[in-house]
Amino acid sequence: MLHLKSIQTLPETCRRATTSLSLSHVASRSFSRQTIASTRTHRSLDRCRTEWTRHHTRHNLLTSSLSPLYRQSTCRRSLHSTAAPQHGPITRPAPGTGIKVHFKDSKGNLIKTVEANEGDDILSIAHEYDIDLEGACEGSVACSTCHVIVDPEHYDLLPEPEDDENDMLDMAFGLTDTSRLGCQVKLARGLDGITATLPSATRNMFVDGKKPTHH
């Protein structure tokens, strides 16, 4: 926390950059969990346009299975303005102590109920518990692959989506009134028992065969 305080005395623009950089590099889970309420790390330094930088805890599960060479390259990438922050995996709380999240499939059948900590986002939780939720842009709000449908009761408790999340939801399949990007839904104590339903993803969207082109 001392670290964060010292950052806050810096000029605004400088602080945004530093906060985001330091999170990309030194964020340990404890650090990030303490600061999650006041820190939202955004994808690139110049896009940290609010004082709250968005913090994505998306751990790239894939990189853990990669050779050191590959891992090095993704780490390097995060030094610059490009990649989503690469963090460690989220930690599972001791059973019975965490916030409960129910994952359901598109037909409404329960996939599993899991527990996670305050500040963890739905995408990271899904990856931690092997739920089949994609995160193609790794939590940087540049795709709609982590689209989930939240139950109405808990949806109303969530902070309003920002413009960039809404822009991506515009393109999500099976959009509903309670749709959100999983990477943007952060757990809070009050969200205990939240249900995240995976939208149906079928190729029916694409009519095979004849479809007139517009040009």
Binding site: R43, L62, S67, A136, D167, R203, K211
Partner: protein, 497 residues
Amino acid sequence: MAPIKLAIIGAGPSSFYVASRLLASLPPSSPYHSALRIHMYDRLWAPHGLVRYGVAPDHPEVKNCVHKFDAAATDPRLRFFGNVNVVASPPVVPLPQSTELPLSTLFSNYTHLLLSSGCSLPLLHPALPPSDHCVPALSLVHWYTRHPSVAHKPPPPLEKLEHISIIGQGNVSLDVARMLLTPPSTLEKYDIPEPVLDVLRRSAVKHVSIIGRRGPLEAAFTTKELREMMNLEDASMEPIDPSLLVVPEGAKLTRQQSRTMQLLQKGSRNKPGTTPKSWSLDFFRSPTGLAPPNSASSSLTRPYTLSLAHNTLSADKKAIPTGETSTLRTSMVVTSLGHQAEPSIPWYDPDLRHVRTVGGRVVDETGRTVKGVYASGWAAMGARGVLASTMIDAYAVADTILADSFPDQIRRENDALASAAGDGSLGELSEVLANKVDLEGIPEEVNKAMASGDVTDYRDWKMIDEEEIRRGEKLGKERERMDWEEARAFLEHARMS
């Protein structure tokens, strides 16, 4: 299950998503784990298709999907062969550095084939044939991504161009407009080659007109891209005739349409007239011709005259001419009207302008399903949709491949495979692929080209990827791209040491 030895033509996102799904569906715990081999061929030396050579440089987050592709490529069952151009007939876009591999070679070496070569030809406008002052947007995208097809071609002469007219109102149009209107000092940290930045720094572009034949509710761009235009640092949007922003009574707008209208009504962050550069959305205009300079009215900076027919909307939302016309003085026209697959690819349907498929399975012109042959991504669907739609399609195609390969019993026990299999009756089949193949075998032509260093594998690509990032780091940017000559020299050096 009989082994699956799959050749994929193309190594773009759709190809990798199919491969990734297949590999993950047959994990080491599966009895069929070792019955799968995937050989991915790309005519370019670098993998990832439009993720490398299409995604706008200032959208680096979109490229994070390559981490998943990298992970798939660590599986020894997947091999990538870059610089191999699989051809059924002489290629439309000749690439001197790539080895040509006849399609028939794949037929005799593989049990399965996936066409995943995308839509790589720009659709042209009949009234606007390409010339030195009328170029497809794809040429500009290729220029700023250093696509191998533009090697040694001159860059666009931006230092002489003051006014650009883009025809088409999709996201590619906005990508190009953004590249032309964003200060180079903002762009220089991204994955944009230094020679491209040099041209952008000398640019004389003051205004970009983005012209569409229909109205704001029909525009193809999405809200993210429109918002980015509205927030440009030193450009502003010319005001739009307010009558065009009135929602017709009784019209039921989609969420995206209403958010687009709100953005348009609000206008750009910078007020019109307060910025050195500007842009406009010109709705209900169809180009009818581009006239060369004439001595009487010649302007050095805007020498060409673009004729536009004015349109209105018919009841079924088609553009119909009102009879009115106008002209626009411009320095260059960029056509951005979408893309189609190359007619030379096998099972190309000229009406669809892409491969003929039903549920991911390729169908020949007589309607017969071609056994073991599939298509995914833009090659199968046409050039539309974002990465998420490509991914969903690719996963469905992978499930179909597995459903067709697995014995009935396994198929029935697995929901995804059961739905991918459909009713299980494919009707009469046409057969082109081999039944028995050497699982580890590589076509002789490819082996030969590999020995002479003309073919890249994924390890080569990762070395180049690392080096590009290292070179970028020195310049304070995301990466500095290599062309094939540099990459080849680098690889030769790396292999020796």
